[in-house]
Amino acid sequence: MTSQDAQDLNFDDFPPEVRKFRSTVREFARDEVLPRALKNDQDAADAFDWDLVQKGHEIGMTRAIVSKEYGGLGVGVVGVALALEEIAAADPGVALTFGATMLGQAPVLLSGDTRLQARFLPLFSGDDVVLACNAVTEEDAGTDLVLEQSYPHARNVTSIRRDGDEYVLNGRKRFITNAKVASFASVFGNLDGYPGATGLTCIMVPLDSAGVTRGAVADKMGYRNCLGTEIHFDNVRVPVENLVGGEAEGGPINIAQGNMARPSVAAISTGIARHALEVAREWAGSRVQGGTELWRHQMSARKLADMAAAVEASQLLYRRAAHRVDSELPAPAYEPAVAKMFADRTAIEVASTAMSLMGARGYVKSYGMEKIVRDAFGSRIYEGTPEALALTITECLYEAGDEDDPFE
């Protein structure tokens, strides 16, 4: 191993601007997000803490992945993932509000289209917060729009038709995070003339366009501080300049976007697990039973040790995946999928164990652990279910060395 390789593998020594950003975000999470988390969680499903999101915007959370050229922070996927772990350790719903905005920006970033970038990316650097969303999931097509081999089988996908200098969209997207509060959406639809979703095409759609209707907010079990909503497109017209990539080239963009996003989702799951561990550690350090603190009892100690090890492993996996995504084009599929699958599982297992350590208090809302457990189940749904991730991972395991792969 060369010294350069060794340096690349040190995930505790981040560039100065990334360290500074994480430190700022950590303070934001501690001072602003955590104190409001329980109240916001218990609010009505469609309540949205704009004040909190505005504060996050002011420290750069809506433009962290945007390059400095367009007013962003340019901290890369590593910087974004570290920041999202910090916020998720206070409230993953707030982390996802920012993460979903970056997901909406991702197609434009990945397009390399400087005209599109110059039009959309500076909008996230103004004084007032602007949110975005990424609209893929539909009533009849979930994973069918994520796995390339499923594209021919996708049904009733939002349609895109070219009409002169415009594209016309018709259809309905479901469970779209931020759709209720976003100004823009990156929308994936199927170009007319292609079966299923084989003509998947990505278009940036201003959500104040005529024909766009936002539906009711889903009343979710967890992640209640971000809003998931339907969007309806009824003959929505957008200029052809809003096309991302090319016609029927949305598939590779969607896949690249997923690979780019998964380390950050893994970071959110890791943040949830870390939060559960922190609460459990505090409890087990102060609660006395049998004449001594809980953590001195061997059974409890084993639980805490397993939780700590899982959180550490989860951190290493997502940071390695994020580093790979920052260092390779196209973004690798394997490491992000492994990191997300592991971290999602870790969040659920650590939260569950932490709850058991707290006994009855773990089951009572006011202690906070009950919310962590509910949130823990959310991450494994979006940006790749365990089933979809397993297919991606095993495909990589069985992938034959490609003689055309220039890095082979």
């Binding site: 350069q4 390059s67 970033l109 990945l110 289209d113 690249a256 084009l329 196209p330």
Partner: protein, 132 residues
């Protein structure tokens, strides 16, 4: 059938192309400001080009390390420089693979314009025609 018949022919084309960029102040300044070196590893046939703010080097002996490494087939490079293949599509489908400071590479694309403008003429001078 691949367009490039030999390493010598590929080096003549891509060497000339990057020599043009090496004379472009915007390009060299961008490399210098970002402390960036680029190694292009063309395949089919093999053709290695190393580009820094100070020089363009060709051949098997180019430096092994660079801040960015780009690998692609010569025919893929030909299609890219002609504007027949878009970089996002080439990257998304794995025809072009990049390792290193990815964000910096994407920022470089707009300042490659002088090379895009001249490529067809340079290729033609060395017997590489347009089209498939």
């Amino acid at each position: 059938m691949q367009k490039f018949e030999s390493t010598k022919q590929a080096e003549a084309v891509f060497g000339s192309l990057f020599s043009i960029l090496a004379e472009d102040e915007a390009f060299t300044s961008a490399l210098r400001e970002n402390d960036m070196t680029v190694r292009l590893l063309h395949t089919k046939p093999e053709c290695r080009v190393y580009v820094s703010a100070d020089a363009v080097e060709l051949g098997e002996e180019v430096p092994e390390r660079s801040t960015v490494t780009i690998k692609m087939a010569c025919d893929t490079a030909d299609a890219l420089w002609r504007g027949e293949l878009m970089m996002p599509s080439a990257v998304a489908t794995g025809r072009v693979r990049i390792r290193g400071k990815v964000a910096k590479v994407l920022e470089l694309i707009p300042i490659l314009q002088p090379a895009f403008d001249r490529y067809a003429d340079i290729a033609g001078e060395h017997g590489i025609a347009g089209g498939k």
